[in-house]
């Protein structure tokens, strides 16, 4: 009996035993063709999907290598049928190729005439094709390149895209590594992306995705369009780029609600691009304003639907997607992969943590019992009101205060979703509140004060879910959220994951009302992080020990002297 670390399941999931001596080798062997799905403590789950197999083919791996890796590391006999299926699936790739023809422009060519005939007859594909050139090739409207690839993928005959990318207008960009160095995994991510041409890089929050973007730009040395979620995060990008690359302030433009600058490197918000006036998108010209050589999509899991459509037209430009959590509650992950590109790099959070690049975090769920009056209110409430009532219960307030008291010296964030609750907390805790209506200027000021330590506690709404770089924050207290959103949970944890100067731990608290929808949603929200290996500790509010008490936090939080 083979004693490998891998167990191959009938549904093509692969279970990898982490503590096995061969697990590292095995992980390297299966990573090209299997997607990491879950990475909890003992056994990681990968999934072999057709998309992953085709990407492996596109990256130069053949079926034999895949089968060999499965058989070599598998603990139990692998069903032959599964291996045959893997080989068959991989064999479908490359029957069709998209290439540039000097005479006919973009051309779809086949090595298997029957496949081309099948594809031509597909209702989904037919409208995107042009004139038949000969028995084995057919012209394609250049603008349909992305949509065609997407449609072909859906009918199971992926096309190998050999049409390449335009270089875009050259613009010198260099990384300025005098005071820092690109980390190994960042370099691997950039290499993976560059070799593949386009694609998505998945790294935990706080692991330096911006630098991956910067390094990709340095690789492209061309004009770059960066799409971000909001203005504050756009300015963060700008700061980072100025600090870490040869780019100067003048070379970087901001294209937002406030300013409309177009420079060799332009940072635009999703919001401004998708703003419509009289039913028309007003700012689409931006995509044609420059001969962009690279387009970077920050927080690609938030990509709004109109941008999907626009992206389909940009298939000849290099595209880099950056995210920490590619779980979309709308299930459109596949569209991200087919339009931006496949996942080029992915690392388990715990791996990065063990390398010291993100802070270790303690996740605690604090359970609060509602008082009788609140319970009655909850009990008779309309279903749609239930969650709000449970999440904003007043009984949470003393507990939140107690949690904050455990960490007197830390920079703390209190994160919530309901504005009146936040206002109330702000007053009670005597802390400034940042929410949607706070002006960008005010936001910048408060964040700056927080960074310098002037303000110890900030109360923030979901504007702080993303892309707010607050390296000093070490404690986050989550008091309410957007129902059961898994990625919101992960992004919020991300706010405290920046490594601390002295390597100390980050703390992530979730305060929930016991026996209500609040705790049900909390359980759902935690799934993503639990699957990433974060173990939640559940504590009763009454048992929450203060600093120095039994089971309380260590004195690390205290000032040095």
């Amino acid at each position: 009996m083979n004693d490998g670390p891998l167990i191959v399941q009938s549904d093509k999931t692969l279970l990898l035993e982490v503590d096995h001596p061969l697990s590292r080798d095995c992980r390297a062997a299966i990573a090209p063709f299997a997607e990491l799905e879950r990475s909890p403590e003992h056994v990681h789950t990968y999934r072999v999907t057709p998309l992953a197999l085709w990407n492996a083919r596109a990256a130069g791996h053949d079926a034999e290598q895949v089968v060999d890796a499965l058989v070599r590391y598998s603990r139990y006999p692998v069903p032959h049928a599964l291996l045959v299926d893997v080989a068959d699936t991989m064999d479908r790739f490359g029957r069709l190729t998209l290439a540039n023809n000097p005479v006919h422009g973009l051309v779809l060519t086949t090595t298997d005439r029957a496949v081309l005939e099948e594809v031509i007859r597909s209702k989904r594909v037919a409208p995107m094709l042009g004139a038949r050139i000969d028995a084995d090739s057919i012209a394609v409207h250049a603008a349909e390149r992305g949509r065609l690839k997407q449609a072909l993928l859906k009918i199971g005959w992926p096309a190998e895209d050999l049409a390449g990318y335009v270089d875009g207008a050259a613009h010198p960009i260099e990384l300025d590594q005098s005071s820092w160095h690109l980390r190994d995994y960042q370099q691997e991510a950039v290499d993976g992306f560059w070799a593949g041409g386009s694609g998505v890089v998945v790294l935990p929050c706080g692991a330096g995705k911006t630098l991956v973007g910067a390094a990709a730009m340095a690789e492209a040395k061309a004009t770059t369009l960066i799409l971000v979620t909001n203005t504050v995060s756009g300015r963060q990008w700008k700061r980072e780029l100025i600090a870490r690359t040869s780019l100067t302030e003048d070379e970087i433009g901001e294209y937002s609600g406030e300013r409309k600058e177009i420079r060799p490197v332009t940072i635009a918000t999703y919001q401004v691009i998708t703003t419509r006036r009289k039913g028309e998108y007003r700012h689409l010209d931006l995509f044609d304003a420059q001969d962009w050589g690279l387009i970077v999509y920050d927080e690609v899991h938030l990509l709004p639907a109109p941008i999907f459509r626009l992206t389909a037209d940009l298939q000849s430009r290099r595209r880099l997607g950056l995210t920490a959590t590619l779980v979309r509650e709308d299930g459109r992950e596949d569209d991200v992969f087919s339009l931006i590109g496949p996942k080029r790099y992915d690392a388990p959070w715990k791996d990065i943590e063990s390398q010291g690049y993100i802070a270790p975090a303690e996740c605690v769920e604090v359970r609060v019992s509602l008082d009788d009056e609140e319970r009655m209110t909850y009990a008779v409430a309309e279903p749609e009101e239930r969650y709000r009532i449970a999440a904003t219960a007043h009984s949470k307030l003393p507990v939140i205060r107690r949690v904050l008291d455990r960490h007197p010296e830390e920079q703390k964030l209190v994160i919530g979703a309901y504005l009146d609750q936040l206002e109330e907390l702000g007053t009670a805790l005597d802390a400034p509140v940042i929410q949607g209506s706070t002006t960008n200027k005010e936001r910048e000021r408060l964040f700056q004060a927080f960074r310098t330590g002037e303000i110890k506690t900030l109360v923030v709404s979901k504007v702080a879910n993303f892309s707010i770089d607050l390296p000093e924050a070490a404690v986050a207290v989550q008091v309410s959220g957007t129902f059961g959103s898994r990625q919101e949970e992960a992004q919020r944890l991300g706010r405290v994951l920046r490594p601390k100067a002295d390597g100390r731990q980050a703390h992530f608290y979730t305060v929930v009302s016991r026996d209500t929808l609040d705790s049900e949603y909390a359980a759902h929200r935690q799934r993503f992080l639990a699957e990433q290996g974060y173990a939640y500790t559940i504590v009763d509010a009454a048992d929450l020990a203060g600093p120095g008490e039994v089971n309380g936090p260590d004195w690390v939080d205290e000032p040095a002297d």
Partner: protein
Amino acid sequence: MSTEAPATLAAWLRTRSDEQLGALLAARPDVARPAPADVVALAGRLAVPVSVDRALDELDAGTLQVLDVVLLAPTDGLAPDELIAALPEVPDDVLAGALEALTTRALLWGDDVLHAPDPVRRAVRHPAGLGRRAVDLRVQLPADLPAAVAELAPEERAVLEKLAGDRPVGHLPDSPDGGSTPARRLLQRGLLARIDALNVELPREIGLLLRGNHPYGRPRRRPAPGVVTRDPQVVDRQAAGAALEGVGRIGELLALLEEEPAGLLRSGGVGVRDQKRLAKALKVPEPDAAWLLELAFAAGLLDVGGPHRDEWLPTRAYDVWREQDLADRWALLAAGWLDGVRLPSLVGVRDLAGKAANALSPDLVRHTAPAIRRSALRVLAEQPAGSGLAAEDLTALLRWRTPRRSDRLAPVPDMLAEAARLGVLVSGVLSTAGRGLLAGGEDGAAGGMRRLMPEPVDHVLAQPDLSLIAPGPLVAELADTLAVVADVESSGGATVFRVSDGSVRRALDAGWSATDLHDFFAKASRTPVPQALDYLIDDVARQHGRLRVGAIESYVRSDDHGLLSQVQGDRRTASAELRRLAPGVLVSALGADEVLTVLREAGYAPAGEHPGGAVLTRPPARPRAAGRRTGSEAHPAPRALNPDDLAATVREIRAGDAALAARRGEAVRQVPGVTTASTLELLSRAVREGVPVWLGYVDAQGSGSQRVVQPVSLAGGFLSGYDERRGENRTFAVHRITSVALVEGEAPEGSGG
């Protein structure tokens, strides 16, 4: 021994040695039972058309070609030399082997000149694919046939060429307004014969003319297909993979059917809706669900049952099966498949009326299926370990082996695919376990698979995301328990379970307490139980049973008044028609079951309550079908004759034959009918004088025989004596003796007269 050539089949049979007769009976066992009384009776049985067809069906193409040569000889009787000359390209040893096969089966007879018995001539309709002679077809051929054929138009000649191939009979194409087609023109010229309204036949003479140098067609040699070679160890490992998969799937399928049986259609079988449901639950394509249903049924693990006999349920055999080790479980499936008389591949195939066949429908029974499966696998078993044949090569070989049965070979590719799914076969190569199955049945199969099967594990790994991973096949007890307390998320070599509030609630409903669950997880998990899991159990347990529902028109009560208000105020429970009876008690006009359902659907965790106040748990008994007797119900093939049987039968025939001869050599005094005074007198005289008697005797089973007996005594209605031929002392009931004659002087052996 007479030196003169025997003139009839019976006479020739008489000249054969005991071994040769034994070989004949072994090759054509249908004529050996019941034992023929004598050689004449044997010759008669050999002439029965069914028996001849059966014997011919088992011959390979090469042997049939040799037979064709004899059948096509202008006169009856062909010397072996002429045979060799007729098939110059066939090697001598092949020819000798074919002749041996034909004479052993008495499909040809004669030593110096080969004769074909008439029944064989009738059974081979178109020898060598040639039509009947023009005379027999009542066609007047042109005088100069070669010239007539030479001047034909190409399309006409093409028709003739086609009919000169394997089949001389063709379908007359429809021609609108009776216009002239090549075939019709040929008919007019007298080059084709019309045999009925639709079909035409090519006269033999034209066929021979067109074939030229190869009147019997190309020599039909055994195909020599390319052998597929694979490392036997790899084959076995992959077979084991398939076996694990199969056993796991069947287990899941039956567990699902235990939970919710599939309905029995009025036409038999399982409905499409149930099949879809099972496929979805098992996460397999629908055809796979049908295959699993068929496999479970073939293995006797699934059958019709239930109180109204209208449901498909796991059988009692399933309870035994799931306790067995993996190899035995697999062996039962494989053996069930091998001997199953159904063709699972026909599920979903539309019949002539356009109706698709359902899984487990009675229409899928084909009694020839086991024989075909075995013959196909046997071909592979002849290959050395690690070698096999591609499916199409195997089919070609089978077609050569039994060309007269080639119409039966259609399901072979599907059967091979099924064998591959089971792990009997891996890409054309038989696995060790597959060989074991073929040679040693269930035990052989289990033996071949046992060392490849992983050891069952008795623990799981609990993880913080509330998943439990069983890193291998589970011991039955743990698997049962986990099925209650967790949901299966993925199965295969390992099983991934997930604990959810639903599954914990289910466990509590089944009578577990929170403490039981904590203890169970602590014991079953090799990793520390995550705190989240403990909290989940406590949370659900705390809520579980807080609502109690009674049966007398039903009530809902709780100590938790807030909760009751919530229930009463909940729009989703409006259908339960609850109203507050007293503080802490709600009542409903509906039955308890309906109320429970409404509350559960609305997301509460109510518990049913016994009149005594105890929490109701689900009944422990699981539904079962009675199931078939396991064993060889599906064995249409008779028991093979063993050497002792053969020897005894040959002895029987010889004795009968001698008796026949003896009777003829004597002035017979026959005593017809029942026991008469003259019979008794004759018998007592024989006893007195020590003269052998010829007896016609009917035994207790009603089969008649003739014997020559040296009588010893006659008493109490029984004659005892020594039957020399059979070498036995026997007692004969006088009332079963049909005729008696004295034998004067023992006739010498084998003198056929």
